[in-house]
Amino acid sequence: MRAAHLDTRICSPEVELVPNRRGYGEGLLEAGKRDARIVALAADLTESTQTHMFAEAFPDRFVQCGVAEQNMASVASGMAAMGKIPFIASYAMFSPGRSWEQIRTTIAYNDVNVKIIGAHAGVSVGPDGATHQAIEDIAIMRVIPNMVVIAPADVHEARKAVLAAAQYEGPVYIRLARAPSPVVTTPESPFVIGKAEYCFEAAGAPEQTVGLVTTGTLLHHGLEAAEALQQSGYGVLLLHMPTVKPLDTEALLALSERCVGLVTIEEHQQAGGLGSAVAEFLSAARPTLIIPVGVADQFGQSGDPEELITHYHLDTPAIEMAAKRVLGG
């Protein structure tokens, strides 16, 4: 059954749809009110990254960098060296996509307190097409030492991730989506950097139970698949991992002991993302069958978000099918 902390309207027609980037705007404003060291930088995408709420409230703590993401990353590094807590926001394709080396060297290698917000990640960006659909960002950020990587499921989790990042000392990457997505969690749902949470538990005998591991907005599809699998008589556990790095290895190990195999679910390339991170850990700690649900080494394209989620086999039936493969069906 679904975890008690989740929104009860999830799988009903009343489910609320909100882009999780709004959680960034709200969280940043809130964090900014609490801590005067927080500053925000934008690269000509102030409103669509939802930075405008902070910029309007604190114009003296906002820096408009123009369309120059590489500069923005390193300016933030310099500001952090002077004691500020900079949040830089753009589309994930441009930051970290274009500014990767600046993030790696001037933020992570310097180990300064900069938060990087990559909005418009995933194929659900939709009509803008492949040029704007970052499905490689988890991979390129996860591989950088000192970097924390978070992919929130919805607006509440995004807000909490921003508040947590503001209090965490060190570089953090938060990946957000453009399209409105189901509000799955509630303001009361727990969020701690580095902690995974069970969102669905209907365990059977381990050999008849599949573990679903989600990050980002596909949590919703994961929950739908879990319900369907349970109705078909399978045991199913869904562990949601908003933090891809540091990986909650303790939770993964415990999950792997309760099931026959795992399905990792992310709106990202199969290569280098959550699935890779889970496999890197479990292959040594407790060899486990893992079927990845993710983009299979392809670029995105234009379309409606849900159309694209289906096309790239990231939707509920694709998750169910992967789960049945794990269960030997």
Partner: protein
């Protein structure tokens, strides 16, 4: 800004010469690293650390210090040697350059060595960081007396990020930002005029709303005057184009782009055999290229 008397100039020139000797010694010990840029910028670095900067080598994290951001990190031998001579760490440690376990990394790493404000090496990002520091300082205190010095090279300004940063500095009217460009005319692949012509460089920075000065990068008094003027500029960032001679001080290495990335012992062989390059360089420096005997210096 202080007026420099002739004895000040003589003191600083002597110090710059000691720093150049340290550069040769450390590069020779490492058998790896860059020679031309460090030797060329020794006068600028000496003036900064022994005359201009507000800083305290005994308290490198002193909050009120001026900040020096070395953007073209590959010339770090001159930064390391100057920091050591200024008292940030023992001069003997210079001989560990580029060795395993050394605090003197091949390119600077923030947090490893006292006095290093940022990691650098990949070109183009130091100016952005200096701008970020200057912006943060202005937010904290609009009447701050701190200055933010960014050292960069003429090869480095090929990088697009330099111009992204320059646009922002001009927009923000960062009067506390002073950029010094090592205009030595060389980069790895050759002369800058061949690899990627920069002129009119002054006009480029003027077009980005910088106050621009050009100086002889080996004339201590001229550089000091230019920095003083740059400090006085109101409502504009400053750039000082320091015309330098690559490998300055070792005449047989000077102006030769082949010395960009090679240490003595691995440089071009047509003028000095490799096994004599370190010894010749040190002798040239100790005798000011043979114009004086070693004893008088």
């Amino acid at each position: 800004m202080n007026y420099l008397h002739s004895n000040d100039v003589a003191r600083l020139e002597r110090k710059a010469n000691e720093i150049r000797q340290s550069i040769i010694e450390m590069l020779t010990a490492a058998q790896s690293g860059h020679t031309a840029g460090p030797l060329g910028m020794a006068d600028v670095f000496t003036l900064l650390y022994f005359e201009v900067l507000k800083h305290d080598p005994q308290n490198p994290d002193w909050e009120e210090r001026d900040r020096v951001v070395l953007s073209n990190g590959h010339i770090c031998p001159v930064l390391y040697a100057t920091l050591a001579h200024a008292g940030y760490f023992p001069v003997e440690e210079l001989l560990t350059l580029r060795q395993f376990g050394s605090r003197l990394q091949g390119h600077p790493h923030r947090g490893t060595l006292p006095g290093i404000e940022t990691s650098s090496g990949p070109l183009g990002s130091g100016l952005s960081q200096a701008i970020g520091m200057a912006l943060a300082e202005r937010m904290n205190n609009p009447y701050s007396a701190k200055y933010f010095y960014c050292l960069t090279g003429d090869g480095e300004v090929n990088e697009g990020q330099i111009w992204e940063a320059a646009m922002l500095a001009g927009k923000e009217k960062l009067h506390n930002l002073i950029v010094i460009i090592d205009r030595n005319g060389i980069q790895i692949d050759g002369y800058t005029k061949d690899v990627m012509p920069l002129e009119p460089l002054r006009a480029k920075f003027e077009a980005f709303n910088f106050d621009v000065q050009e100086v002889d990068g080996h004339n201590i008094r001229s550089i000091n005057d230019a920095i003083g003027k740059a400090q006085a500029v109101y409502s504009q960032p400053s750039v000082i184009i320091a015309h330098t001679i690559a490998s300055k001080g070792v005449d047989v290495f000077e102006r030769d782009f082949r010395w960009h990335g090679n240490p003595p012992g691995k440089g071009p062989e047509d003028r000095v055999p490799r096994d004599q390059q370190a010894q010749v360089a040190l002798e040239k420096l100790r005798t000011l290229a043979g114009t004086i005997s070693q004893e008088t210096l």
